[in-house]
């Protein structure tokens, strides 16, 4: 057992897989000598050397293009895009190439690629460096989408992502980097497409992802004080989506709230709301509530960023106000 931060869990997760599979390579900007701008890849260059752990020129398209090419020759690749906002810089590779090549070759090629990227707000980096863009990837057929909220999940889901034969976009949350947990020794391997019920409750199901998970948990404590028993589900992966866990929960609680950091329009919660409205309509006792960032670019100022992304207060107040 060891106490490990989310940040250190990233390098442990990558190292675990690089030890297991000597073919696995890792590339990105400032990932080797500098150990990553978020220090998530410290130590990997020392252990695995410059051929497997590679600093690249500032060329996001080439990073993903090279990953795609290498993957098609059978080399599994972890590629880092420093900030998730920069997925937009190489979106052709993400949306049109990596996501579609298996399909377009009639299943002949596999793209075992993990695109790791730092996502989300809390660091005051503003409109072009703080976005939550998991929904950009969720809407593209052919990609899997993972967003862990704990150090242990970082390792286990990293392993599952690396071992998956298809491309996975792996979102690491900047504001969770410093969070710590006690982690078992040895190999940790999880499964994609499995949500986790973190707290059982009977009155409402709260579905959350990444940074919104600890906030939803804190909100559930506060709701309990007001006599509302909330069940909290950490989705962990958006694709594949664990619809069973969500539907089973709503069947019992009769209410659903999603807590999303992405902006409102076409945020991932809209998909879940639509699913529940269709599959569990007759179980619902109340309208579905979506708690999201408004449909605005993220401000960088402390007060405004705090006011913009869903806070514990915001979650509690929204749910309570809908209760009446």
């Amino acid at each position: 057992m060891a106490e490990l931060s989310y940040r250190d869990a990233v390098s442990r997760g990558i190292a675990q897989e690089m030890r297991r599979d000597p073919n696995l390579v890792f590339l990105g900007e400032d990932v080797a000598a500098a150990g990553g701008v978020f220090k998530t890849t410290v130590g990997l260059l020392d252990e695995f050397g410059p051929i497997r752990v590679r600093d690249t020129p500032i060329s996001e398209q080439a990073i993903l293009g090279a990953a795609a090419g290498a993957a098609m020759t059978g080399v599994p690749v972890i590629a880092e895009i420093m900030f998730s906002d920069f997925l937009a810089v190489c979106f052709d590779l993400v949306a049109n190439e990596i996501a579609k090549l298996r399909y377009m070759t009639d299943g002949q090629v596999s793209l075992p690629i993990v695109i790791r990227t730092a996502n989300g707000a809390g660091s005051r980096f503003g409109a072009q460096h703080s976005q939550s863009v998991e929904n950009w990837c969720m809407m593209i057929p052919g990609l899997k989408v993972v967003a862990p909220s704990t150090p242990e999940d970082v390792i286990g889901l990293m392993a599952a992502s690396v071992r998956d034969p298809d491309p996975v976009v792996f979102f690491e949350h900047k504001s969770l980097m410093a969070t710590k947990a006690t982690i078992p020794d040895g190999e940790i391997v999880d499964e994609l497409g499995k949500a986790r019920t973190l707290r059982a409750g009977t009155d409402i199901t709260i579905v959350a992802l990444a940074l919104m998970v600890p906030r939803a948990m804190a909100a559930a404590d506060r709701l309990a004080e007001q006599g509302i028993s909330a069940e909290v589900i950490d989705l962990r992966t958006l694709v594949p989506l664990d619809t069973r866990t969500i539907l089973h929960s709503v069947e019992r609680t009769g209410r659903l709230a999603t807590v999303e950091e992405n902006p409102r329009l076409c945020g991932w919660g809209a998909e879940i709301a639509s699913l529940v409205a269709h599959e569990a309509f007759w179980n619902l006792d109340a309208p579905i509530v979506r708690i999201t960032t408004p449909h605005i670019p993220l401000p960088a100022a402390n007060n405004l960023e705090d006011a913009t992304i869903p806070s514990v207060d915001k979650i509690v107040d929204t749910i309570v106000s809908e209760w009446a």
Binding site: E29, D30, A33, A34, G35, V37, D55, P57, I58, S59, E60, Q61, A62, D85, F86, V89, R124, F125, G126, Q128, H129, R264, L265, P294, H295, I296, P297, P299, A300, A301, N302, N303, L304, E305, A307, T308
Partner: protein, 344 residues
């Protein structure tokens, strides 16, 4: 193209080439470099005090920034990166703009009327293409305005650079591409960024003139930029200037350069300081004295403190302003979300 960068002022301050600048003009530009350095150091200090978000210092690159922007006229544009505050300021973006930007206040991005400077680009590369469009737009409007874009060596690895260079050459836009090759892109040394012998060489592939200058030489930078701007204004198309310089500070206040480079190389470049070089030249011309230097430093320091006090006293930017900044008219849905945000 000669790979040897053009130089007019040697590091010891001796002049060995022609400059179109007279002593009073050199004094003015020296003063501007000094102001920029005072600002830059103050901004780093404020960041350490927690009063600014992450800051990217440009110390060591003042000759590049002041020398290039000094070649412009008011109808021209400056499009720079997060490290180009000096050039932006000389062209009319204010220190207040820059400071507000670093406190996360979007009012920092609103330039004084008539000032043609875009907010600093923090996504590496995209802004170079803006400079192509700005130059093209000026042409379409019948103006002789020129767009100067500043960027680093690392930015030349982005597809954006290649598309911008090619487009500018094909459209013959009045664009000046000014690359500050400062040795590093965060932890990546230039020689691992590109295998081109020089960055200026890349111009050849696009059918564009490429020029190399000593980026720590104010006079050489000024001459190269002036020639490129004049050419662009005449309608003779874009130029790529590669200025050889060095980032003596960290990449940003969040960076620890000790992880990837030695102190020795930094000390070497401090010896080639762009301000000291001009100062030595001015001393030899009897055009510098200590009292003048101190006066500038103190005046600039006070001015910047006033700006800081003023910026910190501004009423906070409100959520309402974020919503209102998005479209000319907020959509009905946004109006609802704005009302919700205002309720808290």
């Amino acid at each position: 193209m000669s790979p040897e960068p053009r130089q007019i002022l040697a590091p010891d301050g001796t002049r060995h080439g022609e400059s179109s600048l007279e002593i009073p003009a050199i004094r003015r530009l020296y003063q501007a470099m000094l102001s920029a350095r005072v600002f830059d150091r103050k901004a780093s200090a404020m960041q350490r005090q927690g009063r600014l978000a992450t800051y990217s210092p440009f110390e060591g690159q003042e000759a590049c920034q002041i020398g290039s922007a000094a070649a412009l006229s008011p109808q021209d544009w400056v499009v720079g990166s997060y490290r180009d505050g000096g050039a932006m300021w000389l062209h009319g973006y204010t220190w207040r703009n820059l400071l507000l930007g670093r406190t996360g206040d979007e009012r920092g991005g609103r330039t004084p009327d008539g000032v043609r400077v875009l907010p600093p680009s923090i996504t590496v590369g995209g802004h170079m293409i803006h400079a192509v469009g700005l130059g093209w737009g000026e042409r379409l409007q019948g103006s002789d305005g020129v767009a100067l874009t500043l960027f680093g060596d690392g930015a030349t690895s982005e597809g954006d650079f290649h598309e911008a260079m090619n487009f500018a050459a094909v459209f013959e836009t009045p664009t000046v591409f000014f690359c500050q090759n400062n040795g590093w892109a965060i932890s990546m040394p230039t020689e691992r960024q590109t295998r081109s012998e020089t960055i200026a060489h890349k111009a050849v592939a696009y059918g564009m003139e490429g020029v190399r200058v000593d980026g720590n030489d104010l006079l050489a930078v000024y001459e190269a930029a002036t020639a490129a701007v004049a050419k662009a204004r005449r309608g003779d198309g874009p130029t790529l200037i590669e200025a050889i310089t060095f980032r003596v500070g960290p990449h940003t206040t969040a960076d620890d350069p000790g992880r990837y480079r030695s102190e020795g190389i930094v000390a070497e470049w401090r010896e080639r300081d762009p301000l000291e070089r001009v100062r030595r030249y001015l001393v030899a011309q009897d055009a510098w004295d200590e009292a003048w230097q101190r006066e500038i430093e103190e005046a600039e320091s006070r001015a910047i403190e006033d700006i800081v006090a003023d910026a910190e006293a501004l009423p906070a930017f409100t959520p309402r302003e974020i919503f209102d900044g998005m479209y000319a008219e907020p959509t009905a849905q946004l109006r609802e979300q704005r009302a919700e945000a205002e309720r808290g």
